[in-house]
């Protein structure tokens, strides 16, 4: 009996799947529902960096060598972020969402997938400038412990501050970004007062459940790394965690259109990915 050779794409897919299964089985980290195309690229970059030529060899090295695993984990979990990223989002938030928030006695905000904290500092500054900080409680979560530690440190390399200052101004900043940090050598550290009403916690959008109801949820540029099933699961979670008439904010290239509960939201500003839960 002659067996047909499998296509290259099928072979690649099997190798990636096996690697992710191995990582999960051996170490408990679950990347199995991440979007295939982008995770495959990251895996191949790590494979090349380790001097290997196929994914099966990387799997072998990862299983036998915890340092290799750590390097791979770093590649797979860290996602680039910036302060006031897509400044138009924050400007629109100020114009169209803040007025509603003013009418509430308390405002609970969930920053889901806060990574290394840039979005947290941005939101804290915005709340301060809009006079909402004292009645706000911000919950910033991420599944990645090192990222959370960095976020709590409030430290940003000083060479990024020029871009961040520009973003801050375009986002409707009322003063100067430097009002909020102290610079020393090559680092800037944001004031601890910004963190007074902020709670950081580890939370895995893939596996954990809802833990509160929020007036505002931001989940920006997180689900772009997830496959369709996981993306849908996360949206179920976000929907369940949002109060009626609450605000959901997504990333610049994401949309409520390709998620479940699409019809339960109306657009506050489709262009800037701000939505209101209406049912």
């Amino acid at each position: 009996m002659e067996l047909a050779a499998i296509t290259k794409e099928k072979l690649d897919r099997i190798e990636v799947k096996l690697l992710l299964e191995a990582i999960h089985e051996a170490y408990g980290f679950d990347f199995r529902a991440y979007a295939y195309a982008s995770i495959k690229r990251r895996i191949q970059r790590r494979m090349e960096a380790e001097g290997l030529t196929d994914i099966a060899a990387l799997q072998d090295k990862v299983l036998r060598n915890p340092e290799t695993l750590e390097r791979l984990l770093l590649d797979l979990s860290v996602n680039w972020t910036a302060m006031f990223r897509d400044p138009g989002f924050f400007l629109t938030f100020r114009k169209k969402v803040v007025p509603t928030l003013r009418t509430y006695p308390f405002v609970r905000i969930w920053l889901a997938g806060c990574s290394t904290g840039e979005e947290v500092y941005s939101m804290a500054i915005l709340l301060k400038e809009e006079g909402l900080y004292d009645k706000a409680r911000v919950y910033a979560t991420d599944f990645n412990e090192p990222s959370l530690r960095k976020a709590k440190d409030r430290i940003i390399p000083i060479d990024r501050m020029k871009t961040y200052s520009e973003n801050y101004l375009r986002a409707g900043g009322k003063g100067s970004l430097s009002d909020y940090y102290n610079a020393k050598y090559d680092r800037a550290r944001f004031d601890s007062s910004l963190m007074k009403n902020v709670t950081f916690a580890q939370h895995n959008l893939a596996t954990d459940s809802s833990f509160n109801e929020f007036n505002v949820i931001l989940c920006r540029n997180v689900t772009i790394y997830f496959n369709e099933d996981l993306h849908n699961r996360v949206h179920e979670l976000l929907y369940a965690s949002l109060v009626r008439l609450g605000t959901l904010g997504l990333g610049d290239k994401e949309s409520i259109k390709f998620s479940p509960h699409e019809d339960c939201y109306e657009a506050i500003d489709e262009g800037h990915k701000l939505y209101r839960k209406i049912k």
């Binding site: 195309a37 982008s38 689900t223 772009i224 994401e254």
Partner: protein, 216 residues
């Protein structure tokens, strides 16, 4: 009416090859070259066409506007998880990588490749994975090497690969790099590429009178 070179006719004239997606990469000189190959397509063109045109990091509507006026197909910059629709022209947005994930799009903000984001390699690699031998890759004018590896990948997966004749390209480096990497099935001038695209029928196979097998 441009007649395709005989060799191209041979390559595309066989029964079990269906092209289901066209992916195009361009850099310096791209917009005019893209216009040249797409302007003759009818609005009823049955396949999705996905374009990476190297562009600056700030989003601007000029490129979209130019392509809207140059091509009869509806055009969009896709969002993450957006399904790929037949007969639509998709343009990679500024400062994001555009990937294909099964039959939808995925956006990524991973670092630039060869200083480019969107990168042609990123799109072509994912097209090779998602569509295998049903992908047609077209690499046009450009002055860097983005796209050569991706085009080679499409070829390795059994897809069909075309490069613009470097002698006719505003910037020859990109198609030249692809040719040097042995990534190219056919090197064609822009009118010939236009003709090739036009010849893709509703079944995704070019209209053919004979039933000759493909020469690989």
């Amino acid at each position: 009416m441009v007649k395709l070179p005989e060799s191209v006719g041979e390559k595309f004239r066989f029964d079990d090859r269906k092209i289901e997606i066209v992916v195009i990469g361009a850099s310096l000189g791209g917009p005019q070259a893209i216009k040249a190959i797409l302007s003759g397509l009818p609005s009823s063109f049955p396949l999705p066409i996905v374009v990476v045109q190297h562009r600056g990091i700030s989003s601007n509507t000029a490129l979209m506007y130019f392509l809207t006026r140059s091509c009869a197909l509806p055009i969009a910059e896709p969002e993450d998880k957006e399904p790929i629709v037949y007969g639509k022209l998709y343009l990679a947005p500024a400062d994001y990588h555009l990937l294909i994930e099964d039959r939808s799009f995925a956006l990524s903000i991973d670092e630039p490749l060869h200083y480019n984001r969107p990168s042609i390699d990123v799109l072509f690699d994912s097209a090779a994975d998602a569509y295998g031998q049903r992908a047609l890759g077209v690499l046009l004018t450009g002055s860097n090497c983005d796209g050569a590896a991706g085009l080679a990948n499409i070829k390795r997966h059994g897809g069909v690969t075309v490069a613009q004749d470097p002698a006719t390209a505003e910037a020859p480096e990109m198609p030249t790099a692809a040719i040097a990497a042995k990534a190219v099935d056919e090197t064609l001038k822009l009118p010939e590429i236009a003709e090739l695209l036009k010849s893709l029928s509703s079944a995704g196979t070019p209209k053919s009178r004979s039933r000759k097998k493909a020469l690989k």
